[in-house]
C-alpha cells in the first residue's frame, strides 16, 4: 500500500487508530525498525529463548530535556538505558519493546531523527525490537517525546553477581570519566549561555560487562545513571554494611566537565553517566581487569577508584589535596550557586 508523505508536524490524529496512525507507523516507525525484527502488523510477537536459560527482565522510562543533546538523543538513550540495566546485571540483552508517547505538534523530522538514532543504537547493541506502541497526546500534555523500553536478556548460569559477594578489601572500579551525560544535557539546555566541547557518554556498556564477567573475582556491577557515581557508592555502603574509601585523584574526570561544574557549583560525582560501569572486584584481579579494559580500548580511562572497608561506616573520599571528606546522599536537584 502506498504511504502518504507525513506532514511536517505530528497531529493528534496520528494516534487515532485510523489512517493517520497507519501512516505514522508505516511511514516512520516500520521502515526504520524492521531490520531489528519489528513486525508492525501483529499484536504480539514470539521470542526465541535458549532452552533452560535464565532470563532477566527490566523496564525503564525516558524523559529528557532537551530531546537532543551532543552525543545522542532520547532515542539512543532509551536503548542504552535498558540495555545497560541488563548488562550490569550480567545479562546479554536480547529483546526490547518500545512505547512512544508523542506530543501533538512536534516536528516529524525530529521524531525521525529520534527513531533513527534508536534503531542505530539497538543494532549496535545487537538487540531485537519485538513489540512497540505509539500514543499521541494533546499539546501540553507531554514534554515532546517520552519513551519507555522493556528489555529481556539471558544471563550466564554460572555467573553470580550481587552485593552479598562483596568483601572487605575489594576494589571499586569505574570504566571511564564521570558526569559527562549530566553535564552535556545541562549545557544543551542553553540556560547558562555556556558552550563546550563535551558530549554525553551514552553507549551500551555490554562490551565492558562482557569482558569483566570473565573474571571470577567480579562481585557486582551497576551503571551510575541518575545520582551519579556518588549514589552508587552510597548504595553499596548501605547494602553491604561496609564503609568505602574513595580516592578523588583516581576518579576520571574530563576537563570540560570539571570546568563547567566549578563554574556552576555542581559536584560531578552526583551527575549522571549513561555509558559507564561501576564494578567491585577482588583485589588480586582488579588491576589486571583495569589494564585489560584500557589496553583493549573497551574503556581507555578505566580506573580503580576505591576500596571496600573492613567495617560498617560511611563513604569517605580522600581529596586530591590529601584531606578527607564525607560523600553524602544527594538531597535535592542540584541548583547553580550565586557567586
Amino acid at each position: 500500500m502506498p504511504v502518504e508523505k507525513l506532514p511536517k508536524n505530528i497531529r493528534l490524529a496520528h494516534g487515532n487508530g485510523g489512517r493517520y496512525m497507519r501512516e505514522l507507523i508505516d511511514g516512520l516507525f516500520a521502515p526504520r525498525l524492521a531490520a531489528l525484527g519489528l513486525d508492525t502488523r501483529v499484536d504480539a510477537a514470539p521470542v526465541e529463548v535458549p532452552a533452560g536459560a535464565r532470563m532477566m527482565m527490566t523496564t525503564d522510562g525516558f524523559t529528557v530535556d532537551p530531546l537532543e543533546f551532543p552525543g545522542g538523543n532520547i532515542g539512543s538513550l532509551a536503548i542504552h538505558g535498558t540495555v545497560n540495566d541488563l548488562a550490569v546485571a550480567g545479562a546479554k540483552p536480547m529483546y526490547l519493546t518500545l512505547n512512544a508517547f508523542i506530543e501533538e505538534g512536534i516536528e516529524t523530522a525530529l521524531l525521525e531523527r529520534v527513531v533513527d538514532s534508536l534503531a542505530a543504537a539497538a543494532a549496535d547493541a545487537g538487540v531485537s525490537l519485538v513489540a512497540g506502541d505509539t500514543k499521541v497526546l494533546a499539546r501540553g500534555e507531554c514534554g515532546g517525546i517520552y519513551l519507555a523500553t522493556t528489555g529481556l536478556g539471558v544471563v550466564d548460569e554460572n555467573l553470580s553477581l550481587g552485593q552479598q559477594h562483596i568483601r572487605p578489601g575489594d576494589r571499586i572500579l569505574v570504566s571511564g570519566t564521570v558526569g559527562d551525560h549530566g553535564t552535556a544535557v545541562l549545557l544543551a539546555r542553553e540556560e547558562y549561555g555556556l558552550r563546550g566541547d563535551l558530549a554525553s557518554d551514552s553507549a551500551s556498556v555490554r562490551p565492558i560487562t562482557e569482558y569483566l564477567q570473565d573474571y571470577p573475582g567480579l562481585r557486582f556491577m551497576r551503571d551510575p545513571t541518575r545520582g551519579g557515581l556518588a549514589t552508587v557508592v552510597l548504595d553499596l555502603a548501605r547494602e553491604t554494611g561496609f564503609g568505602l574509601a574513595l580516592d578523588e585523584a583516581a576518579i576520571p574526570l574530563s576537563e570540560p566537565v570539571s570546568a563547567v561544574c566549578e563554574l556552576l557549583g555542581y559536584d560531578p560525582l552526583y551527575l549522571a553517566c549513561e555509558g559507564r560501569v561501576v564494578a567491585v572486584m577482588a583485589p588480586d584481579e582488579a588491576e589486571q581487569a583495569v589494564a585489560g579494559l584500557r589496553e583493549s580500548g573497551l574503556a581507555g580511562q578505566a580506573a580503580i577508584i576505591g576500596t571496600v572497608g573492613e567495617q560498617k561506616g560511611p563513604v569517605m573520599l580522600t581529596t586530591g589535596l590529601g584531606g578527607q571528606r564525607l560523600i553524602d546522599e544527594l538531597e535535592d536537584d542540584p541548583l547553580p550557586r550565586i557567586c
Partner: protein
C-alpha cells in the same frame, strides 16, 4: 583548563602543610576566620582541616549571602512571586531556602508561580524584554561581587525605558559584617572567642580592593589576608596569617594578586555608587541589625525599586530559639555544639541560616564532616 587542577595539587598542598606546621608556634593557638562561605565550602570540600596541625583552627564566618538573608526578606520575595503579574528572577541557590511556614521559592514555583533561575541580571533584563505584559523582578542578593551587575541592569533598564523591570535589592557589605563580629560582646569584651586573623574574600576584593580592610586591621589589630578560593590559595593564605601573627603584625596582605589590587575596580565601584546608597540599618540573619551594612536603590532610580513599586513591607518572623547560628557565625560555637545540629536541623529541613546553603558552616559540616 589545567588551572583548576594546578591549584589543587596534592604535592604542593603537602609542602604548604609542612610549612604551616613548621611556622605555627607549638604553644600558641591560632583561630583564623574565613569570612566567606565560598572559603568555608573549599575548606571542607578539599578536607583542609586534616592538613592543619591541631593548634591552627579555622573559624567559619557569616559570608554566605543565602544564609544571612533574613527570613522576612525571603517572605517578601515569595509574596512577589505569588503575584500573577510577576516573574521573579532568582539565583539558583535561593530557591530551596526555607521561608516562614515551611514555604520556599521552589514551593511557590511548584504551585505554578513564575520563578526563573538566572545566572546574571542580564538574563533577568532579557526576560523583561521578552515579557512586556509581565513585571519582571530581579531578586538581587549577594555581597560586593554581585552588586555591580545589579547596578548595570538598573542603568540599562533606565536607558531602554524597560518599565516592567525592577530589582528587589538585598545587597550587603562585607567590611561592615566583619566589623560587627569584632564588635560583638563575645569577641570584644567577654573573650569567649578569639578571632586572631581573617581570610578576606578575594572575589569581593576584585571589586572593592583590599583597602577597605586597612581600617579594621589597624583599629582591631587583626591581620587580614585576601585569599583566593582554590585550596592551595587558602593554605598559602594561612601561612601568611601565621607569619603576621608570629611577627606581631596586623596588616592587610594580598595573596590573590592575580585578581585583586589595593584600590579594586574603580569602574564597578563607580556604578554601584551611582545606583545604590547605604541603608542606615540592615538586618542579617544570625548577626541581627548591622548599621550601614546593606544597600538600597537611590532616589534617581527608585522607579526600579521593587520594594517601592509593589509597596512591600516586612512582617516579623520568629526564629527558632534553639538555633545557635548567631553564635556559629561569630565563631563562638561550632556547628556540633548546637543541640539541634544534624537532628532537628538538617539540609533537608534547615532551621538556622548556616544550614540552608552548601556555603553555610553547618551545611558544609553536615555534608562533609559529620562522620569524621
Amino acid at each position: 583548563m589545567r588551572y583548576i587542577q594546578g591549584f589543587r595539587d596534592g604535592k604542593a598542598a603537602a609542602a604548604l602543610a609542612a610549612m604551616i606546621r613548621a611556622e605555627a608556634e607549638p604553644d600558641r593557638h591560632y583561630h583564623l576566620m574565613e569570612f566567606c562561605g565560598g572559603h568555608t565550602h573549599a575548606v571542607f570540600r578539599h578536607g583542609i582541616p586534616d592538613l592543619l596541625p591541631d593548634n591552627v583552627e579555622m573559624v567559619h564566618g557569616p559570608g554566605c549571602p543565602v544564609c544571612v538573608l533574613p527570613v522576612a526578606r525571603l517572605d517578601l520575595a515569595i509574596e512577589l512571586a505569588s503575584r500573577d503579574d510577576v516573574i521573579l528572577a532568582s539565583y539558583g541557590d535561593m530557591l530551596r531556602v526555607p521561608a516562614s511556614r515551611r514555604n520556599s521559592l521552589l514551593n511557590a514555583r511548584s504551585k505554578g508561580h513564575d520563578v526563573r533561575v538566572v545566572q546574571s541580571t542580564a538574563e533577568a533584563l532579557e526576560l523583561a524584554r521578552q515579557h512586556p505584559d509581565k513585571q519582571v523582578v530581579m531578586f538581587a542578593i549577594g555581597f560586593e561581587t554581585t552588586t555591580p551587575q545589579t547596578a548595570v541592569a538598573i542603568r540599562q533598564a533606565a536607558e531602554e525605558g524597560l518599565e516592567n523591570f525592577s530589582v528587589y535589592c538585598n545587597h550587603v557589605l562585607t567590611p561592615s559584617a566583619i566589623q560587627s563580629i569584632l564588635d560583638s560582646p563575645e569577641v570584644r569584651e567577654l573573650g569567649q572567642v578569639r578571632v586572631d586573623g581573617f581570610l578576606g574574600p578575594s572575589h569581593v576584593s576584585t571589586i572593592i580592593g583590599s583597602e577597605p580592610y586597612e581600617f579594621f586591621a589597624e583599629e582591631y589589630q587583626r591581620p587580614v589576608v585576601i585569599a583566593g578560593f582554590e585550596p592551595l590559595d587558602v593554605m598559602a593564605s594561612i601561612v601568611m596569617l601565621i607569619r603576621q601573627l608570629n611577627e606581631g603584625r596586623a596588616e592587610v596582605e594580598n595573596q590573590f594578586t592575580r585578581g585583586v589590587s589595593r584600590q579594586g575596580n574603580d569602574r564597578a565601584k563607580g556604578l554601584v555608587a551611582e545606583v545604590f546608597e547605604l541603608r542606615p540599618e540592615f538586618s542579617w540573619r544570625g548577626l541581627g541589625e548591622v548599621p550601614y551594612s546593606g544597600l538600597r536603590i537611590k532616589r534617581d532610580y527608585q522607579r526600579f525599586d521593587a520594594e517601592k513599586r509593589f509597596d512591600l513591607a516586612e512582617k516579623p518572623v520568629r526564629e527558632n530559639k534553639a538555633c545557635q547560628c548567631p553564635a556559629v557565625i561569630r565563631g563562638v560555637k561550632k556547628p556540633t555544639d548546637c543541640e539541634i545540629f544534624g537532628t532537628v536541623c538538617t539540609p533537608r529541613n534547615p532551621i538556622g541560616s548556616c544550614m540552608v546553603s552548601d556555603e553555610g558552616a553547618c551545611a558544609a559540616y553536615y555534608r562533609y564532616r559529620r562522620a569524621g
